[in-house]
Symmetry: C2
Subunit: 307 residues, 2 copies
């Protein structure tokens, strides 16, 4: 068993339009790196966070909170040091907290000789999510740990499914640098929704799942309709309607809010359309002087992994 491990933990996008709190997918090659090594004093210590100024307190950082949940479950007093290299700003909607949650539990699980499967790690990683958003969400940590598309069918009991990844599906993301905290983005949602709207939403969730199984790109696109969350949350995102309309005009299959925003993501069939949309998104924010980062990748079929 090694004493040290270096891992890559992908960024993820939750909700995927219609699937608020249940659907998510991993990006390919976009995410964070983490080096974790055993230490003899029984402590969890975050030695360094490269890239952004985030809490090093092991009782607050999602990597160590999640790792501690695993250690408690397995009854281990082993200590670990963490060096975390972030590349995506916190508060992006691209699952930055979950990249650390999933990375932390994955690394510790590996260094303990894999007492748990990747699917079992989801519950521990959710404890990291709970530390930042008050509620133990799984829609980011599930694709983070399992890769590809995932569906959290049920939270009680936790039941996470892996869904197929169509070969030519590409995602483009723009992250305008305005901070939207998940907790705030949740607060503005209504606690009650019209049954007729909920019916539309679950019709689309069914359609999106079918579209993934069929590799039916048009079906995936037309199922990415969110009549419940998007109309409320989009008001927090500058240029949202404009960027979405242009993405669809440029050939995107669909376009919606990444997680709780402010990032916007679009699906495309093929890399060419995805790259065109990337340029367009960048230009839109450049024109109005809002700093924005753009990303393009295939769906990441692999989740967190040793590198």
């Amino acid at each position: 068993m090694p004493d040290k491990i270096k891992i890559f933990s992908p960024s993820t996008v939750a909700n995927v339009g219609c699937g608020y709190d249940v659907l998510g997918f991993a990006l390919d090659g976009i995410g964070e790196e983490m080096t974790v090594s055993k230490r003899d004093d029984g402590q969890l210590v975050i030695e360094e966070i490269i890239g952004f100024d985030l809490p090093k307190d092991p009782a607050v950082n999602t990597a160590t909170v999640a790792a501690q949940a695993l250690l408690d479950a397995v009854g281990s007093k082993q200590g670990f040091s963490f060096i975390i290299k972030k590349t995506i700003n916190p508060g992006s909607g691209m699952g930055t907290s979950s990249s650390s949650s999933a990375g932390g539990v994955f690394a510790v699980n590996e260094l303990l000789g894999r007492p748990y499967t990747s699917a079992q790690l989801v519950e521990f990683a959710m404890e990291g999510e709970k530390a930042v958003s008050k509620k133990a969400h799984a829609d980011n940590v599930a694709p983070n740990l399992l890769g590809g598309f995932t569906l959290v069918r049920s939270y009680e009991p936790l039941d996470v499914l892996s869904l197929p990844v169509p070969e030519d599906l590409y995602v483009t993301i723009v992250h305008p640098q305005v901070e939207v905290k998940t907790t705030d983005a949740k607060k503005i949602l209504k606690k009650q929704v019209d049954l007729s709207m909920a019916v539309k939403q679950w019709g689309n969730v069914g359609g999106l799942v079918a579209g993934l199984y069929e590799s039916n790109y048009d079906l995936i696109g037309r199922s990415m309709v969110d009549v419940i969350v998007e109309p409320i949350r989009k008001i927090l995102i500058p240029l949202y309607d404009d960027v979405k309309a242009q993405a669809l005009a440029d050939g995107a299959l669909g376009c919606s809010i990444a997680g709780s925003g402010p990032s916007i993501f679009a699906f495309s069939k093929g890399e060419e359309t995805a790259l065109k949309i990337k340029s367009m998104m960048q230009e839109k924010y450049d024109e109005v002087g809002i700093l924005a980062y753009t990303y393009m990748s295939k769906i990441g079929e692999k989740g967190v992994r040793t590198i």
Copy 2:
């Protein structure tokens, strides 16, 4: 082109637990027969309804209302006579009105030389549904026309998907003879639902669709959870909790309300379990002296057809 046709139109079950207003499936060999023939006077005439006392007024009967919608769309003044042989009581929750709606449009479409595909017939059949339940539902007429499992992803525009049918999936239905009208069953539903409940529901819709693609019987069963409609409607159905609990104890994958009730359906893997549940359901209602009919079949892969 023939002047006369005899068709079989299957019974159907809408909602399928979690999929209120969007999911449905056809039964195999259980349904109604209809003989439709051309007439020279340009009229739609219901000559006979065998089995039950239902309206022969062509402006009221779903078969002729739906057929008229098709004739109007195609601009035809052709007249037709209908002889309808019903086998399932109206108000059962087994799609009796939609069997006639779908049967009527299918037969007339055949006799006109098939101007429309089966998928296109759904919109006309929905007009028959509108005549009895005020709203143009598609969750029964879609499986009626297309067979197997269907998902109404969207109503505006109408987008109906066919989903796979697992080989060993059997359905058992009990129809206790207490009438529940679809309109009444809809009235008691709340117009607003908790977002947290809606999330559970669309997680399960996604799970059920995945289960059908994977032929994963356990997943199908555990996705048949309805936290929104069942808790309200079940109070209209005598013995509901008792029958459901025993069905699950007897090995059913899942059990829920067929359409708007009062019929109850259970899914089983394999015929043996399905037959055992059929006997149990019959006994439960016999014991308390409520007249009940029971049915058992595979999922009907074929929809309405010429016989």
